[in-house]
Amino acid sequence: MAGGFGVGKTTFVGAVSEILPLTTEAVMTDASAGIDDLGLTPNKTTTTVAMDFGRLSLDQDLILYLFGTPGQHRFWFMWDDLVRGAIGAVVLVDSRRLADCFPAIDYFEEAQLPFLVAMNGWEGQFLHSEDEVREALSLPPHVPVVRTDARSRDAVKSTLISLVEYVLTVRAAYGRTY
C-alpha cells in the first residue's frame, strides 16, 4: 500500500485485516559526509521510519500481509526490503491530489514491482474518470486503474483480487519482469 499523506492507506488495510493495523518501526542511521568519530557523531542523524501492516489468513498455511508506510514516502529503504517476495503494490490515490503519488509510481516502476492504481472515492464520489487519472499519471496501458472505497471490506477485497489477477497476467505475458 502506497499513496500520499492521508489518502486512506491505513483505512484500506484495516478494512480487510483480521487484526487492528499494527506499526513496526525501523531506525535509519544516516552518517553524513565528514569525519565520523565513533564516539561523538554530531553529523549522524537517526530517523525512525514506521511501516503499518495488517494480516489476512487465507488458508491454514497461507497468510497475506498488507504493508504501507504512513505519511510521506521520503524513506524507501523499508520498501526495498518488502519488494523482494511481494506480490505487488496498490497505489491509493485521491484524484484531487494526484501529484502525491508520483514518488510511489516512480519507485515501483524502477523496482519492477507490478502495481495498480486505486482511486479512493471520497464519500463514494469519484471526481475523475479512470482515463483522466491514467493520462495524468502517464501510466502505460497495461497498468490497471480501479475505483475503490478504503472503508469497505468488499471494495478493498476486490481491489486486492484485481491486483493479484493483474500480476498473474503480467507473469503470463512477460515472464519474470513486466
Binding site: 480487510v16 487484526i19 499494527l22 506499526t23 513496526t24 518501526e25 525501523a26 531506525v27 525512525t48 511501516m51 501492516f53 494480516r55 489476512l56 487465507l58 488458508d59 498455511d61 497461507l62 497468510i63 497475506l64 500481509y65 504493508f67 523499508m78 526490503d81 518488502l82 523482494r84 517476495g85 511481494a86 506480490i87 477485497k157 486486492l160 483480487i161 493479484v164 489477477e165 500480476v167 498473474l168 507473469r171 519474470r176
Partner: protein, 119 residues
C-alpha cells in the same frame, strides 16, 4: 509456509552472508518472514530471557517478524537479531514462501487469489 507439494515442513532460511560482528544476524529476516515457536519442555522455559519468553509465547501461533516487532514494541532491527539468535538456538522455526527469482511463484499467486475470492 509449506512447500508446493504441501509436505515440506523444514525451515526455509534465506541464507545471509556473515559479515562479521555479532550485530549482523546470520539470516536475512524479511519483515514478512514467519516465525513459529518449537515446543519446549516446561523447565526449559526458565532458561529463556524475558524477550525470548515473550517471543516463544507469541509464536505459538505463526507470526511475522513485523508482528513480533510491533507487539513487543521493539524496533525491527532488534526483533531481527533476537529472532535470528533464537533460530540458531533451535527455539523457533522460520518459514518463507517459495520464491522464484525473488518473486512469489505462480502456484502461490493462484492460492492467494482463490483465498481472497473465498473471503
Amino acid at each position: 509456509m509449506r512447500d508446493r507439494d504441501g509436505t515440506e515442513d523444514e525451515p526455509l532460511f534465506r541464507p545471509y552472508a556473515v559479515t562479521g560482528g555479532r550485530a549482523e544476524p546470520r539470516y536475512h529476516l524479511a519483515m514478512e518472514t514467519l516465525v513459529s515457536s518449537v515446543a519446549l519442555k516446561s523447565n526449559d522455559y526458565s532458561l529463556l530471557g524475558p524477550e525470548q519468553e515473550s517471543i516463544m509465547m507469541l509464536c505459538r501461533t505463526v507470526r511475522s517478524v513485523a508482528e513480533i516487532s510491533a507487539l513487543l514494541r521493539v524496533p525491527l532491527g532488534v526483533a531481527r537479531v533476537l529472532i535470528a539468535d533464537m533460530a540458531d538456538e533451535g527455539l523457533v522455526r522460520l518459514h518463507m514462501p517459495q520464491l522464484n527469482q525473488g518473486q512469489p511463484d505462480l502456484n502461490l499467486l493462484e492460492r492467494v487469489l482463490s483465498g481472497l475470492r473465498r473471503l
